[in-house]
């Protein structure tokens, strides 16, 4: 356990030193603040809770950005160290291979969580500072959104680690990571939409739709954030959510599995690999 923390700590130290933490935090905060103030313009003061608007815009932002940042951080976690030659020395130390993987993962997750909390939190702080009154329900939804965003980041970190243990070269890892990102963030939903159009209004079995939504972590995330409360009306996701039996606990569970399973497989692959 101590080794895990040592490895995680070094990963955070490195992230701070090479400006990863600073860059992602500033990027997320900058975009979040922009969306907050641009987003408040059209609604004006018609009574819609402004934080709910922010939740809708931030989750749409997070769906694109967090997987990308997570994959950028994690895709060379193992293969990069192996290519730079630092891995072989680390493996000669009294530290287990799973401790290396989990430690590095936790380090990256802390970086991502920090950036998300500070970056997105800045939007909420800015709203409060500008004198907006926010209901407790909106605060809860906002907290859920933050938690879900970190979980979404964890999912793609985990996928990145799996890529990083499977491939032999950094450049391959980068290519695969971009492919994965495009697939889950863009292609999957377009294909799903295309499928629904092709079905020409015939009812898609609910179970199939649920399965398809859970099979993509970004869809599970979208549904978790936008499927209920005030956000569902604002985003138009209410319709999808109503037709699906997926509750928040199930969606959370799906995201947790998405975060744990690839990392577990990465651990097994790495344990078997020869350095």
């Amino acid at each position: 356990m101590m080794n895990v923390l040592t490895v995680a700590r070094k990963e955070i130290q490195e992230g701070r030193r090479n400006r990863w933490v600073l860059a992602t935090t500033l990027l997320l905060a900058g975009l979040a603040l922009t969306l907050t103030f641009l987003g408040s313009a059209p609604t004006g003061n018609v009574g819609v809770n402004q934080l709910d608007v922010v939740i809708v815009s931030l989750s749409s932002l997070a769906i694109f950005l967090l997987p990308l940042i997570a994959l950028l951080l994690s895709h060379d976690a193992i293969v990069g160290e192996s290519e730079r030659g630092t891995l072989i020395l680390l493996l000669s130390y009294p530290v287990g291979r799973s401790e290396i993987v989990i430690g590095k993962f936790l380090g990256h997750l802390s970086i991502l969580a920090f950036s998300t909390l500070i970056g997105f939190g800045a939007a909420a702080v800015a709203l409060v500072a500008s004198g907006t009154v926010i209901s407790p329900a909106s605060w809860r939804a906002f907290a859920t959104m933050l938690g879900a965003s970190i979980l979404l980041g964890a999912v793609f970190l985990s996928i990145g680690y799996l890529i990083s243990t499977l491939v032999r070269e950094r450049s391959t890892a980068g290519g695969v990571a971009i492919g994965i990102w495009l697939f889950f963030v863009l292609i999957y939903d377009m294909a799903l939409l295309g499928g629904l159009v092709a079905a020409q209004g015939r009812a898609v079995p609910a179970l199939l739709l649920d399965g398809l939504l859970l099979a993509n972590p970004t869809d599970a995330y979208r549904l978790l954030n936008l499927g209920s409360g005030a956000a569902s009306t604002l985003s138009g996701m209410g319709g999808v959510a109503a037709g699906s039996s997926l509750s928040a606990p199930i969606l959370t569970l799906a995201l947790l599995l998405w975060a744990i399973v690839p990392l577990g497989v990465a651990n097994i692959v790495f344990a078997r690999r020869e350095a």
């Binding site: 040592t6 130290q13 490195e14 030659g85 020869e274 350095a275």
Partner: protein, 301 residues
């Protein structure tokens, strides 16, 4: 003396390529061993096997009484390793790097701090990012991490390649001190001359096979390479009057190769009339010649 490392009939195949074939040796505590071979002869593979980073295809490796591939804490803690052309995380400083490795080995950082002095890494360099380090400084940091926790076995892969002579000397001084403490030190190298007088024992590998193993004297004896005797005569025009195949040297001197058994007799007759000689030089076969001999023998088989 107890054995720290034992390899018995170890082979390692990568697909159809045999990187190491049927290698057996025994490294004792307090022994300094030179592992010598061309690039690609299997030196690094042997070191990785001893570290347990890879598993032998057949045969067995024992490190400090255990299987290194099991990764026992006390075994890993007592082994220091300096990889060939060691690299570190560029963004961290020397101190942060060593602290990280010290934590993993459960070494007090105050002890780690002393190592900077020992390897000669200056105080201002310690707090600079490793990115700014020269090759020599990186190698010093590499040695510092290998020395963490006073290891019983030290495996140094090409530790002095590309270092300047002063640093090399520094390196060997540290290794001599370790030998006195009973540490097993294994140095791999393809530059042989610099290992002369440093190693108690030389193991030569070629294409994955161990082709020689012994002290330098033993190897010289086995190879029975001639000692070279070089003389300069007082009379530059004269030819040497002693029997044998004297060869004229470019500087006007004469040279002959003589077997160990005949060496004393030749010297006796050479020095019988001192006025004939201007100078006399003896050259024992160097490690390079020895190495070439064993490689040549291997190729002939």
């Amino acid at each position: 003396m107890t054995s720290s490392v034992i390899t018995s009939n170890v082979s390692k195949h990568y697909g159809r390529v045999a990187a190491v074939r049927d290698v057996s040796f025994d490294l004792k505590s307090g022994e300094t061993i030179a592992l010598v071979g061309h690039n690609g002869a299997g030196k690094t593979t042997l070191i990785k096997l001893m570290l347990g980073l890879i598993r032998p295809t057949s045969g067995s490796v024992t490190m400090l009484g255990g299987d290194p591939a099991r990764g026992d804490f006390h075994v890993r803690q007592s082994v220091g390793y300096l990889p060939e052309s060691v690299s570190f995380h560029m963004a961290l400083t020397g101190r942060e790097t060593l602290t990280f490795y010290a934590r993993l080995k459960r070494v007090e950082f105050s002890d780690a701090e002393l190592l900077f002095k020992r390897v000669g890494l200056s105080a201002d360099a310690v707090d600079r990012p490793v990115r700014t380090y020269s090759k020599g400084m990186r190698q010093r940091l590499g040695l510092a991490q290998a020395l963490l926790g006073t290891p019983q076995v030290l495996l140094l892969d090409e530790p002095t390649s590309g270092l300047d002579p002063a640093l090399r000397q520094n390196f060997y001084d540290i290794i001599s001190a370790l030998r006195a403490d009973g540490t097993t030190v294994l140095l791999s190298s393809h530059a042989l001359t610099e290992l002369e007088n440093r190693a108690d024992r030389v193991i030569i590998v070629d294409r994955g096979v161990k082709i020689a193993d012994g002290t330098l004297d033993e190897l010289r004896h086995i190879a029975s390479l001639p000692t070279r005797v070089m003389i300069k005569l007082s009379d530059m025009e004269a030819a040497p009057q002693w029997s044998g195949d004297w060869c004229r040297q470019s500087g006007g001197g004469w040279e002959i190769g003589v077997d160990a058994a005949d060496k004393i007799d030749l010297l006796k007759s050479l020095t019988a009339e001192p006025s004939l000689l201007e100078s006399l030089t003896l050259a024992e076969p160097t490690l390079d010649e020895l190495y070439a001999h064993f490689l040549g023998r291997q190729a002939a088989e």
